[in-house]
């Protein structure tokens, strides 16, 4: 090539190749467009936020005379947290796992005191773990002890991969802790049988629903009360019955502003407004419509017959704290691994 010695021309041409490829990868310039909020949320919240976002946009328009957009990203909440740490520039997170927000706080993306920034531990709505059984409740499932019987087979998502499954595990443990008065050996016995009764461990909540409903596997599906009721609405009220056990776990749905990215995106006020909106009466009513329990007294009273009274154990009370619960029960070689060991 033009009298250059061969290796050099090869090098030059290769460099040109590199430059061309990298040039093609350079990002396009951002344009002047209405502001857009990115909400990173858990898997089964698609329909929920599809209903909430248009209402929020109206609300924001009314309050600030500005048209904004809201984009959603859904996935398992740990997967979502991981994407955010790896650079997905979400402005707010609406998760179903306190631990996944804690991970973001540890990474410095969310304020350390995020739980104090909004009412009720920054959880605008909550739920609990409930049972869905087949028509007529043929196996007479009433409480957690029924789930450890020989003749009962269970479906719930893998606690290792799903926050939903983790709540189920913690709820069962919480029940056993009460029933056996903290006798560790008896609790572990119960948990072993309980876990042994699981027919299929799906990776996520929706997968477990499909297994139970579409494949007809298992006598009991254990999942969020909200999901259980949505399934009944989706697949027919007559084919399934909901059983809310007398004692279960308080499942919080924590929200937080991802300060680091919201600032960089210039969306700080919008992000805060979005979370504030979730606590308004209008949003609370929407949430209750999706079978989530809410704290707004007026709305809670309106929907009271939809949510049976039940004792809700707090993770902090039974297990000390979320990090402790995670460490003791779900880490590699932890309690769950021990219980499943052969």
């Amino acid at each position: 090539m033009l009298g250059l010695s061969r290796p050099r021309s090869l090098f030059a041409a290769s460099t040109l190749g590199l430059a061309l490829t990298l040039g093609a990868l350079s990002p396009a310039q951002a344009q002047d467009q209405p502001r857009e909020l990115l909400n990173s949320s858990y898997d089964i919240a698609r329909e929920l936020f599809a209903a909430i976002n248009p209402k929020f946009i109206d609300w924001w328009q009314e309050q600030h005379d500005e048209t904004v957009g809201v984009k959603q990203s859904h996935g398992g909440s740990s997967t979502q947290a991981r994407s955010i740490m790896q650079g997905l520039r979400a402005d707010v997170v609406t998760f179903n796992q306190v631990t996944d927000v804690n991970v973001l706080a540890d990474a410095g993306l969310v304020a350390k005191d995020w739980q104090d920034r909004y009412p009720n531990n920054a959880s605008p709505y909550y739920s609990t773990t409930a049972f869905l059984v087949r028509k007529g409740n043929p196996k007479q499932i009433e409480n957690w002890d029924d789930l450890a019987r020989d003749d009962v087979s269970l479906v719930f998502p893998n606690p290792k991969t799903s926050g939903n499954g983790r709540y189920t595990y913690l709820a069962a443990w919480g029940y056993a802790d009460q029933a056996f008065d903290g006798d560790e050996a008896k609790i572990e016995d119960y948990m072993k049988t309980f876990l042994g009764n699981v027919e299929v461990f799906d990776t996520g909540g929706r997968g477990a629903t499909t297994t139970f409903v579409e494949r007809g596997i298992g006598d009991v599906l254990i999942t969020f009360e909200s999901e259980v009721n949505n399934i009944r609405n989706e697949y027919g009220k007559d084919d399934y019955e909901v059983v809310v056990p007398p004692v279960s776990i308080l499942a919080e749905f924590p929200v937080a502003v991802v300060d680091e990215y919201a600032q960089r995106n210039g969306n700080e006020d919008l992000a805060k407004g979005y979370l504030d909106y979730l606590y308004t009466e209008e949003a609370q009513r929407l949430l209750a419509g999706f079978n989530y329990r809410v704290n707004d007294e007026k709305v809670a009273a309106e929907f009271s017959d939809q949510f049976p009274e039940t004792e809700l154990l707090r993770v902090e009370d039974v297990f000390g704290s979320w990090p402790e619960a995670m460490q003791t029960h779900f880490s590699s070689g932890g309690e769950l691994d021990q219980l499943q060991r052969r």
Binding site: M1, G17, L18, L20, T21, V200, R215, S332, Q340
Partner: protein, 284 residues
């Protein structure tokens, strides 16, 4: 290789631009292949050898290796038999809709693997179309090892068909006719004439199918059941570790899958090279 290529530059080539194309190729190889692998190694370097050993010999993980290897093995053998049959039918016979069947062969590559997994799980579960027929025989497919092997076979069958097919096309029907006129029986002609000719392609295809099955996640996960020690595959264990934010642990498990796959691919390549050499008397 580069030195060799440089030497060959003196020869006239039909298409110019060797340096440019090599540059682009190397860049892309680095971006999509080498960089991700480097980061895997980077994660691994956080572990000491004893930690690494402890992680990869966890009994539950060992059980998952067994499940994965067994599933992939069954799937590969199944594909070797049926992939060969499919290739044979597609090359040697004319029938209406042949083009369509030929195109269908690539479907497992095109279909999102999760869709394949869900479809198979639906069909083969005890209330599905096919599962319902198998139920009285006491065979359950979904959520057992059979389901795992089935999903693996589905996603990897094109490897066998597509490697055997062109070789078979090169083998004229006259060859087996000649064998028969020389007195070989059907079976004899197949074993002594056709099979040896197809052998390298068949082994390569089967090997690729096996390796692909080892790492398959999407299709298998929906039909596997995920019961500890019974139906947990190794790629699920990687996923579990990632959910725990245990990157080092995930990389450790992934490195096992990767090492096994690389070793197998390398072995196939070496074996194939030697086989061809032997076939052509050292000139190949």
């Amino acid at each position: 290789m580069i030195a060799q290529a440089l030497m060959r530059r003196r020869e006239r080539r039909v298409l110019p631009g060797f340096g440019l194309s090599l540059g682009i190729s190397l860049t892309f190889v680095s971006l999509v292949l080498l960089l991700p692998l480097t980061s895997l190694v980077g994660q691994l370097s956080q572990l000491s050898w004893s930690q690494y050993w402890f992680l990869i010999t966890d009994p539950r993980l060992l059980a998952s290796y067994a499940v994965t290897l067994f599933g992939a093995g069954v799937a590969a053998l199944f594909n070797a038999a049926f992939g060969l049959l499919m290739a044979w039918v597609l090359v040697r016979y004319e029938f209406p809709g042949k083009r369509l069947v030929d195109a269908l062969m690539d479907l497992p590559f095109a279909l999102p693997t999760a869709v394949a997994g869900i479809t198979l799980a639906t069909l083969y579960s005890s209330n599905g179309w096919i599962g319902r027929l198998l139920e009285p025989w006491g065979i359950s497919v979904s959520y057992t090892w059979i389901g795992i092997a089935l999903a693996m076979a589905f996603t990897s069958i094109p490897f066998v068909v597509r490697t055997v097919q062109p070789v078979l096309e090169d083998l004229p029907a006259e060859v087996d006719e000649a064998a028969m006129t020389l007195g070989a029986s059907d079976g004899h002609a197949f074993r002594r004439v056709i099979l040896p000719y197809l052998w390298p392609a068949l082994v390569t295809g089967t090997g690729l199918a096996f390796v692909r099955s080892l790492g398959e996640f999407g299709a298998v996960i929906f039909i596997a059941g995920g019961k500890p020690y019974e139906t947990e595959i190794t790629s699920l264990m990687v996923f579990v570790k990632l959910q725990e934010y245990d990157y080092a642990g995930a990389s450790a498990v992934a490195s096992i899958v990767l090492a096994t796959s690389l070793a197998l691919l390398l072995a196939i390549n070496l074996w194939q090279g030697r086989f061809i050499k032997r076939l052509h008397g050292g000139r190949g």
